[in-house]
Symmetry: C2
Subunit: 275 residues, 2 copies
Amino acid sequence: MKPKIIKTIQEMQNTKLSGKVGFVPTMGFLHKGHLSLIRAAKRDCDTVVVSIFVNPSQFGPNEDLSQYPRDFVQDVKLLSGLEVDYIFFPTEKEMYPDDFKTWVNVDKITTILCGKSRPIHFQGVTTIVAKLMNIVNPDMMFLGEKDFQQIVVLEQMIRDLNFKTKIVRCPLIREKDGLAMSSRNKYLSEKGRQEALCLYLSLLQAKSEFQNGNFDSLSMKKKMEKLIHKNNGIIDYIEFVDPTSLESKAKVRKGDRVLLAVWIEDTRLIDNMEI
Amino acid sequence: MKPKIIKTIQEMQNTKLSGKVGFVPTMGFLHKGHLSLIRAAKRDCDTVVVSIFVNPSQFGPNEDLSQYPRDFVQDVKLLSGLEVDYIFFPTEKEMYPDDFKTWVNVDKITTILCGKSRPIHFQGVTTIVAKLMNIVNPDMMFLGEKDFQQIVVLEQMIRDLNFKTKIVRCPLIREKDGLAMSSRNKYLSEKGRQEALCLYLSLLQAKSEFQNGNFDSLSMKKKMEKLIHKNNGIIDYIEFVDPTSLESKAKVRKGDRVLLAVWIEDTRLIDNMEI
């Protein structure tokens, strides 16, 4: 059955959703990573809502908003196949009317890691997700660990502002060779696509270092840098962090996480792995 | 019947409220202004929840948080008399746990008028009200026009973040001689209490000027200043504004509003009136 497509906030808010409601917020151009979130929602919930909205407020002025890939027809086909109940597909004007003035800000954990090079990114993410939660009113929201910092930030917002929605963390999904699934992989040339594998390989390297008894994040980081540089990657950051607080760890423990952002050609890619 | 007193967020969120839910957020020390809001809620709704919480985040570092008047026993007595169903009475720790990091910010309309001399005030207000709306989940929230800018700011937040709660504006309530009801009136000496009347009298003066054909805000303002200075008031601001946008008006029209904040003794009082 084709999902019902809803374009206005009012219609979405007035739609009675039955049973436990699962929600997957996306920017469209769906790949297997998104589909795994939707399958998890279908498994756990009675009604599943997927939003498709390329959120302008989370893109910086020099970022890739205008070229961000879109394919609504293909998205609807994929969502039909998964028997999604509703697609919320609003316009930019619907979500950000002319006199829009309100922003949700999470302190501290939004200014590190990706927040350093993307200073307004998380403000855009928290604001749009607060709006979407008020519009869809879901019991559970399914998010992928590919955007690990984003999950931690949104969990903090939900806790602090007492939203009733629970976040369900879903594992990162990789291509066969290990590259993390991302709509932005589409930007890469064939050569870049090969080089991009260095993110995954450097994470594997750190994990194996750790398993062989190296707990020193600095020395692991140096080895990762070497591998990435060899593949023409330009490093934005590599950090070993506590998975809850995102605090940097000098001495790494089991359960900590290594996060990185690397430019391959003109594309900024992120990835992460539990150590 | 005595209202049920609820102290934790979890219990409040798990309480099934029946029918149309009305909510009146307060900082306690209830006066007739508050009681008029509660009567309006009783009239329009099936279940009425009143919160009592002196919200620290809306007080600046040099403001009157520590001396803000409290009288929970008397408040409960008054709320029992009005047959309120629930009192939400959380601790500071419950509302702001140690790792609290999230703030709701409304741009522009929070930096003018009261926002000029109280730069963090509205951030505290919008954040606590967003929390309370998520905790109580009311259909309607009843607010007094005494805090006129606060209503405009909260309406903007509700619209922008798509909260489903509707704000019901209730008229400002005055003492017999015209002084706007406020918990802070308690701070005034007998002499100050007399002087404080100049806020109301200057508003009346502006209104009568306008009715006599003076549309020039500057000249009306000058006359108000004179009256206030004669009563030893120190003016924070006097502004003639559009009631929706809060934009300053040089030429005043019917329906515009005059807002003012004046220090009497050590107490900052606010008042406003439709022209």
